[in-house]
Symmetry: C2
Subunit: 339 residues, 2 copies
Amino acid sequence: MTRVTIRDVARYANVSVTTASRALNDTGRMARETRERIIQAAAKLGYRPNSMARGLVSQRSFTIGLLTNDTYGRFTLPVAAGLSAAMVDRGVSVFLCAGEGDPQRTLLNLEAMQEKCVDGLVVSGKRIDRGLPVELPRTGIPTIYINAACPEGEVGFVPDDSGGAEAATLHLAGLGRRRIAHVTGPRNFAATGIRADGWLKALDRMGLAPWGEALFGEWSEAHGYRMADHLFGQTSRGMPDAVFCGNDQIARGMIDRLTEIGVRVPKDVAVVGYDNWEIFAKATRPPLTTVDMGLLELGRQAGLTMLGMIDGKPTPAGIRRTPCTVVVRESCGARSEAD
Amino acid sequence: MTRVTIRDVARYANVSVTTASRALNDTGRMARETRERIIQAAAKLGYRPNSMARGLVSQRSFTIGLLTNDTYGRFTLPVAAGLSAAMVDRGVSVFLCAGEGDPQRTLLNLEAMQEKCVDGLVVSGKRIDRGLPVELPRTGIPTIYINAACPEGEVGFVPDDSGGAEAATLHLAGLGRRRIAHVTGPRNFAATGIRADGWLKALDRMGLAPWGEALFGEWSEAHGYRMADHLFGQTSRGMPDAVFCGNDQIARGMIDRLTEIGVRVPKDVAVVGYDNWEIFAKATRPPLTTVDMGLLELGRQAGLTMLGMIDGKPTPAGIRRTPCTVVVRESCGARSEAD
DNA sequence: CTGAAAGCGCTTACAG
DNA sequence: CTGAAAGCGCTTACAG
């Protein structure tokens, strides 16, 4: 029942612990035959190196901490999956620390991570203009900020929301839409501003005028629902023929209301969402064309970068923007004739 | 820049490492004054015990592994948050291992957890009748199964779906509804059967006959949408005055379609969902009364139990069912007059 | 090519 | 009440 150690392996293979260690780590030079004999002995005995012992001497724990304040994890979970996948292949595991936006709890987690001697720290949030509820003490631990405010001189990863918004708008324009409105979340989120800029930029590129101003509000269905009335209620001033929404919930509310008041989607109005929250986007009637932020890949990239930082590779500070893509479903009519 | 160790603390407080260790761990007996002096020295120097070193000698890593195959984490995330909260207070951190339902990856994670010498393992899934895609090797590590198939002789946690379904149905009956239908997910999920039984049990208790059979299908809005037509399409055979839905998505589809065909919710028909997926339930028009599975608390309970198992406390095998509660919103009319 | 020894940072008998 | 020593399971100079 007691765990097999490197001593057991060494004894079994008739070598010293030193040699066993070298064979198992593929370092040093030794007779091929010896190395293989040792490796086979390890396999035979079901040897697993004790990473606490290994960490103690090598001063690396082969762990990183993921600090998140995104309780429901819609953003963090795909990121975590990508991160974890990149890491596990290299033998590093990730601690999940749910801060719940509470300074007390965050601090507790932070201390735990220090005691565990994590090799790196990933701070993951749900908005790019807010950091942790506490100041991160200067620990000297490599740190990456994902979807969170990234302090000067640190490295961050963020989806390229400007590019995503542009792509969405260009998709609409490419389908012949000319009067493209934008309904989005609260004005005080950095992301809304960036997406609105992407919308304007794409319109400008196409020589199109924006249909009114960006309609800021909440990230909710209710906001989309209300803005449908706002945009399509008074026919006097004409109507947009497309709406680019700041997230999928808004798009859902928009489409639901449009359907209720007899505006046909996509025939009369094309709608694009943002987030590609699949369970949501696919259930919208019609299924929602939306922007995917590529969070899984973002997490993977961040993981690779973290691995480099841990290995001491020089890593320039600054924010990396990873690509967003338009996922075409049916709410824009791109497939109305094709399929 | 180099980390402060217990030796630094000992030197600073003018005691041996042994005494420092005892003071910091609050073991042994020594002059109060000495103990306090040491603790203050530690605080002053910002000492954090190295848990790898501590783990090496105490044969405990103060970590557990959370193996999940619930990619999107709707179920796992609240569970993980509760688990983590219960654990962090006791100094144990949790590794997040996303198996993605892939045997290869799951195995890799499992090996990583063994190398990390986790004190416990939590297997978390999204359905109670499916386990990990690989057989868990007999490691002797305390293990808890949450929302996943729990092998004979192991300990598991699961929401009390039968009780939840009963409570939902009784809520409906208590509001005077007499013709209560049930629309739910696929027949081959264990949870659908259990919830359907709860529905029948509650009806029986109230002396009510079920309105037709349980309508199995998918866990989707589309299914709810279609079943609305099925239940309310032909007026010839009468209509239910309430529908208990197997999850919130089904309820959402149901309500959306009901509204479209002119059936008023809750006036004509009361609807209850299941899951209390808030972002969803709150956006439904009207906001959805639904069953909350208490996943956060379930996770906390599991964490406490795990802590006990790690400490060697005898823990009877078997499945624990944690309570589900009805969250009242507006889709049943419980508040139609009140508010 | 191989091994004995020191040491990573702790805890815990054991001795005083 | 306090400390010197051994040891947890590894890796890595150092010596041969």
